[in-house]
Symmetry: C2
Subunit: 235 residues, 2 copies
């Protein structure tokens, strides 16, 4: 915290003027990630960011005309990081393992980087480059399924489906974590009258209610893959 001086006092920092090239768009983006990671993306404000960078708020507006423009730039960075973290297909594995590894990697990344997750899930890709990269990845993945006998169209829709499932898990887990800070652990269990719920009563015990585990995630992935395999056998 570079300027944790006086908040309430009327004395203003009276900052020294910075040199001309002393802040760049890259520095601002990096600073924005630092602020967001230290608190959250929601709490990232232009004012706080400016303080963090020890710059006048308005200086940021020379590099980014709107806050939204800064967020877009951050999203590009996040999308690239996600792209780089997805393992490429290997020749020595089947399409099933490829899908499993890719989806697991995406989920892991979103779990360990909430800011990235919030950025990426908020919007589709902005730039041409990001879209191009995404399409190239998709082409390779779809080709792998097509090579295994799936019609091209089916391969595309299948990849799409397993990504939607992963997305659902990711957003749900994100929602849980967001509110867990408030709700505090699984004391929900006591709120419920279990008398009419014999099945659930026997299943949901100590573990946090409706939480998502690695096994639960794996289950859905396996079932989708099994469903794809069934389609392959029919042809």
């Amino acid at each position: 915290m570079p300027n944790a001086v006086s908040r309430s006092a009327a004395t203003k920092p009276a900052r020294k003027r910075r040199e001309r090239g002393s802040i760049s768009t890259d520095l601002i983006i990096a600073g924005a990630f630092e602020v967001a990671r230290a608190s959250s993306l929601d709490e990232l404000s232009m004012t706080v960011l400016a303080d963090h960078l020890d710059v006048a708020v308005t200086s940021i507006y020379w590099h980014f005309r709107k806050k939204d423009e800064l967020l877009r730039a951050m999203t590009e960075v996040a999308i690239r990081k996600q792209h780089d973290s997805i393992p490429p297909p290997r020749d020595d594995e089947g399409w099933q393992d490829m899908l499993r590894r890719q989806m697991t990697a995406i989920r892991a990344l979103h779990r360990e980087d909430e800011v990235l997750s919030d950025l990426v899930l908020r919007t589709p890709a902005y730039s041409r480059e990001a879209t191009q990269r995404a399409m190239e990845d998709l082409e390779v993945t779809v080709a792998k399924l097509a090579g295994a006998g799936f019609p091209a169209r089916t391969a595309l829709v299948a990849v799409n489906a397993i990504m939607m499932y992963t997305r659902g898990i990711i957003t749900y887990e994100r929602t849980l974590r967001r509110s867990d800070a408030v709700i505090l652990g699984g004391r929900q269990r006591q709120m419920i009258d279990w008398s009419g719920l014999p099945l659930l009563d026997s299943l949901i015990d100590r573990q946090p209610l409706a939480g998502t585990s690695d096994q639960d995630f794996e289950f859905g992935i396996s079932r989708l893959i099994a469903g794809f395999e069934a389609l392959l056998r029919e042809a």
Copy 2:
């Protein structure tokens, strides 16, 4: 717009004092939904809501101590509406059709009511009643699968998985619609160099890029159900 008078002029409305019981929490919630539906949940502010209700902003704070409290109340309403819109299982249908109908109904609801969607997806259930209702629904659904031969634990995880898939589709479609207002139709196609992408080039034509169709949604549902059936056969 009850008070679309002067914004810039220094003359303030000078409102007449309202009677004591003239606004209730229910009226405020209803008004909040009206404002949100007319614009969006993001644009719902206490000030705008107060204007809409022709009430002083601070009056709302007597009924709801925080904006978050109002949002919670709205979420409860939304969750109840979602609950009521999900068709109950029928005796003359199998578990497959039940799941299909339920997931389709949820997706349809979220498509036609964006405000509900934003509220419900933002947070898990708050109140005891909502949680209780959700658990009762879940019990019935899980019981149907269990009756078909699934172990109880598997039935629960399966229902969870298909809900996660549906959630992924819903959030993705929501994201698309949010940005479609900006991006404007599928002119993305021209941005991309298709030379290295023979498969995708042949598949993605006129239709909006990466859009989600009813058939795509159906595909994932079918594959999951097929995956569940495979599990049943193994036992």
